[in-house]
Amino acid sequence: MTTRREQRLAQTFVALSDTLVDDFDVLDFLTLLAERATALLEVTAVGVILSDQRGGWHPTAASTEDAHLLQLLATQTHEGPCQDSINTSTPVTSYDLSAEHARWPTFSEAAVAAGFRTAAAVPMRLRRRTIGALTLLDTTPSAVDTNGIQLGQALADQATVGILHHRALRREETLVEQLQATLHHRVVIEQAKGILAEAGNLTMHQAFQLLREHARVHGHHLTDLAHSLTTRSTRADDLLEFRAHPSTDTRE
């Protein structure tokens, strides 16, 4: 492992721990984790997939909210390295996605069409359960190596900690409550992205960035801001005004 990578590693874990304070937004945290993971593992994109606890899997955070990436992440909830990683509870790597037609016919085709050459997935485990997975996608042929997989596993463990956050795991019920709440908040964020995308003629990625930036500058939770947009307690125009003139916006 290079020194530079060690530095980045330290910085990443410091940044993630700094976020894990008493009161933080789990989806903001998972997005930060996905973003940091791309830099640290030197891959193009990272996605976090969570169990809906009734047999389904949902993309919950990604290093970019690019619509095509989110579609690909949704595709691999049925088939691909992520599903295999969840089923086996071990890391799964593909060194050449174009040669994976037999293993993952739908996913490999979609991933190659999106420009990806290699993929890997590491499970998010809690006790004997697998509650989700981290998917790593790269447009270069150099797949994630053993060190990378170990790092990926450490990040996946951090993601699990983040979801359970301040709730002590004394009760088995907490996991269900937290996972379901996280998935619910993700849906609210998608709805809020739609509102902003329509009102400001933005891409979904731009809409998400605006949501996140506005929440950060004003010290609000990402999910609270998303919710107040959907209930129309916050107007889309207020955020679009902020986007046009971020410097004139008064900080609270």
Binding site: G55, V176, A181, G194, I195, T230
Partner: protein
């Protein structure tokens, strides 16, 4: 595996309805919940005034319950303004309490009343699709004890069926396919948000309009949602006059 569970639960619900039970679909679903999860009682509340409300109206409408204790628990939460069902809406996830005697601090008003009614454990599942709040499916047991993982999975599926039931009752036409609630694609929710902005309406109404379009044109919901997010389809105030962009 759980696709099977979903299918099994749905067919059990349909069988009960086909067997001529005259009660509403939601009441039948509550009865199925009691039988399938072996809890003592179940109740569903459906939020009132969806079409006109601002989505924040805390007043609650129709209550379907399998017995008087379930009804009492729903009423109690309304009276004291706290309890598992209200918490479920705040947190966005289910609230699972295996032993009510441990919740005196959490719900000082609700807990003594609930214990007095005869409940020992309570489990509340919000019925919502993101910001579209539709109601809750609540269960109680007369002995303390947690739901098993399998029971929780089935309870979540029953909550999906309940969510779908509320939606179809609002729509006024029956459709037993609740599979769209499990779809991992974000476009359905993004499109709902876009329609909400186009019509300056509530999330609930936007979702109903999206589904109505899919129903009217016999298209998969995800396909319609993608036409919206691709900006090929816009919604206008007149339901029959949704603006198609360049034909695909």
């Amino acid at each position: 595996m759980s696709q099977d569970r979903r299918t099994v639960l749905l067919s059990r619900l349909e069988n009960r309805l086909a067997a001529g039970e005259t009660a509403s679909r939601m009441s039948v679903l509550c009865a199925l919940t009691v039988e399938h999860l072996t809890v003592s009682g179940a109740g569903a509340t459906v939020l009132a005034s969806l079409a006109d409300g601002d989505g924040q109206d805390p007043s609650r409408g129709l209550v379907h319950a399998t017995n008087e204790i379930s009804t009492g628990l729903e009423d109690l939460q309304l009276t004291v303004g706290e309890g598992p069902c209200l918490d479920a809406f705040v947190t966005g996830g289910p609230v699972l309490v295996a032993d009510l005697t441990e919740t005196h601090t959490r719900w000082p008003g609700f807990t003594p009343g609930a214990l007095a009614l005869g409940a020992a454990a309570v489990f509340s599942f919000p019925l919502h699709i993101g910001a579209a709040r539709l109601g809750s499916l609540d269960m109680y047991h007369d002995r303390p004890g947690r739901l098993s993982d399998a029971q929780i999975s089935d309870a979540l599926i029953l909550a999906d069926l309940a969510t779908h039931t509320v939606i179809t009752e609002l729509e006024g036409h029956a459709s037993s396919d609740a599979g769209w609630l499990a779809d991992p694609h974000a476009e359905i929710h993004q499109a709902t948000g876009m329609i909400q902005a186009q019509l300056n309406t509530t999330t609930e109404n936007a979702l109903l309009r999206l589904r109505a379009h899919a129903y009217t044109y016999s298209l998969p919901l995800l396909d319609v949602a993608r036409r919206v997010t691709d900006r090929q389809l816009r919604f206008t105030d007149e339901p029959d006059d949704d603006q198609q962009g360049t034909p695909a």
